[in-house]
Amino acid sequence: MNASAKRARWRRDLIGYAFLAPWLIGFVVFSLGPVLASLYLSFTKFDLLTTPQWTGLDNYVRMFGSDVRFWHALKVTFTYMILEVPLKLTFALLVAMALDKGIRGASLYRALFYVPSLLGGSVAIAVLWRQLFAGNGLVNQVLLWAFGIQGPAWIANPDTSLYTLVLLAVWQFGSPMIIFLAGLRQVPHDLYEAASMDGAGAWRRFRKITLPMLAPVVFFNLVLQVIEGFKAFTPAFVVSSGTGGPVDSMLFYTLYLYQEAFAYFRMGYASALAWVLLIVIGIFTAISFFTSKYWVYYEDDSR
């Protein structure tokens, strides 16, 4: 390559970078800077108001060694995820398949079913949830009226409170549903026809055609939902009034992090918690990607 061509190419790249600049500057100043600062802070004792003191690995030693609430928060978050992600994905897939059948008014239903996803993360819905599942809330009134069952105080009871949050999450199945719906449209119809002619039933068609063809979409949704699950905060925060209680039963990891940082002024420790969260999410995403080659089939795969 001669010099002038090199210069021309450099100029072309420069224009590209110039257009990217607003995003790049934003990323460096508002994301990368704080991220690096939090890495430094995670090795300090920092109450936000006085200068941070270097404490080496103390925060991490404490976290893994003696912090009972840290382990508890992890347990709560995992329990939530293990229930919420598969339930939500199953439900989203079922609804998507029903809508894909070409029933009348499908686009209306699609829009309606998507509404909870728009509202679900909001404070208003979390407040509504608190009312619905209170000891004398609507859910218990219906249970009493329809079945004569006196339900527990769902949210005030540490044995049931987390499940109300799982339900709240599953209710927001809209966005994976839309993605599944798009995926289903991609499945060639002649495959189903051929299978039907060979005498394959609905269940068999689903297992042998729909699922394998949809695997990349399932995988995409799974990764997205796992990350979302780890990051869930607002519902637990609002439903438990910021406490994570009763008895820490709704203490999501993010909520614990928030309390340490902003209620108890331990920003150094909270930064360390944030980094551990990042690593945990990283590990789970890596596991998903690593195992994906055994169960995800890509049409343009050259293997």
Partner: protein, 417 residues
């Protein structure tokens, strides 16, 4: 063409900039933040609006419930976005002052007609960081009608815990399983502290260490465990979502006849309760002292980051000394500390107000001295007790383990703070 329009645009923007700037700067802006209830919010907003109008400044007002208030305040202070006027609690003022987040008000507010006791209640390490908006003491609020049903005309103020359990137990018999004698207060730090004080013990030592033993905690949990098992107080899931908002207490929800509050809250509770309420001292341990003390119900502080601390201090001065301020706030935040303010309110006080004033005067006579200031981390310990007491109430941990766990965690929190 394009260059020309661009130049025009820049020129126009350059002309407009100072104008925008001036718009943003005209008039002093103050922000005031407090924890409250509907009644307090109304009074405070009225006061701030009137003051802002007559002094040609802008005051924005925010309020939250007790539980949420402290996390929100912490977030704002930490983010360098603290409100100018901050409502403070005696439990937190030492922590906030020692983290250099509050402005020392000694020079701005002489508080001439406060008694030294009242003035000093807002001091940390010899400097004035908060002005008491009124005095209160802990108080047991009760439904007078229900108490009469079991033959108690008015609660005596030398009630023991045994008496309390007996009376509450009788009330629970009236409408079995639907209505109880008292709310479960094993989770309330203020009640635990009074129980300790009554037995001549303390929550914290003068040098900010834990002053009680695991056995004390176990005895405390045991007291409430017996009440719970006997059906004197409701099962655990009735009170587990109470984060100290007036509407969350069992007495307001029509589930119990007695709850543990502070004397100034009588007004807020009465506002949300149809039945006639009254207050008495908390029960005491057999042969013990009342364990009560008079303290600032709440203080008003100025943020160290405030751009106009003088203006903010003037608002506080207006609250505690001017006729308009004193009358607007009334007795809702406790009995005013200024003698002039008390003189203004006394003649007009209604029955509730009189009851509150008499109660605080009675406690002042019988009071144990103000305990040592709560150390950094006291706020976290308040939440910790809720959590551990709930685990005991729900049977998640045994009483002994819960007690040991609470004590150990307290030591831990204070060591880290």
């Amino acid at each position: 063409m394009t260059a020309l329009t661009r130049r025009h645009f820049i020129a126009a923007a350059a002309v407009a900039m100072p104008w925008f700037h001036a718009q943003a700067q005209s008039g002093t802006r103050l922000r005031c933040f407090w924890w409250g209830n509907p009644d307090r919010d109304k009074r405070t907003r009225n006061l701030l609006n009137t003051y802002a109008r007559s002094n040609n400044l802008q005051i924005s007002a925010e309020s939250l419930g007790w539980g949420e208030y402290w996390t929100k305040l912490g977030t704002q202070v930490a983010g360098g976005n603290a409100p100018d006027l901050i409502q403070m609690d005696y439990r937190y003022i030492f922590e906030y002052a020692r983290r250099n987040t509050l402005f020392a008000l000694d020079k701005l507010l002489p508080l001439a007609d406060f008694s030294p006791y009242d003035r000093d209640s807002g001091k940390v390490d010899g400097k004035l960081y908060g002005v008491s908006l009124g005095s209160n003491s802990k108080a047991l609020v009760y439904d007078t009608g229900t108490l009469q049903k079991v033959g108690v005309k008015s609660m005596p103020s030398d009630l023991t815990w045994d008496d309390f359990g007996r009376i509450a137990g009788e009330i629970s018999q009236i409408n079995l399983g639907k209505y109880w004698g008292s709310s479960d207060s094993s989770r309330l730090e203020q009640v635990f502290e009074q129980w300790l004080n009554s037995g001549s013990k303390l929550l914290y030592t003068a040098d900010g260490k834990v002053a009680f033993t695991p056995d004390d905690v176990a005895a405390w949990f045991d007291l409430w465990d017996k009440f719970r098992k006997a059906g004197v107080i409701p099962p655990a899931d009735v009170g587990a979502t109470n984060n100290a908002r007036v509407e969350e207490y069992e007495i307001t929800r029509g589930l119990a006849a007695m709850s543990f509050i502070h004397s100034n809250q009588l007004l807020a509770f009465q506002a949300l309760n149809k039945n006639k309420l009254a207050i008495a001292m908390y029960p005491r341990v057999k042969g013990g002292s009342p364990g009560h003390y008079v303290k600032p119900a709440m203080l008003m502080s100025v943020s160290a980051k405030s751009k106009t601390p003088e203006e903010a201090a003037k608002v506080i001065n207006h609250m505690v000394t001017s006729a308009d301020g004193v009358k607007t706030l009334g007795l809702e935040r406790g009995v005013p500390c200024s003698a002039t303010a008390r003189a203004m309110l006394l003649p007009e006080a209604d029955e509730l107000g009189k009851q509150q004033i008499e109660f605080v005067a009675m406690v002042a006579k019988a009071a144990t001295p103000l305990p040592p200031p709560p150390p950094k981390g006291a706020g976290e310990i308040e939440n910790l007790l809720r959590r551990v007491a709930d685990s005991v109430a729900f049977g998640k941990v045994s009483l002994k383990d819960g007690a040991r766990q609470f004590h150990a965690e307290c030591v831990n929190i204070l060591a880290r703070a």
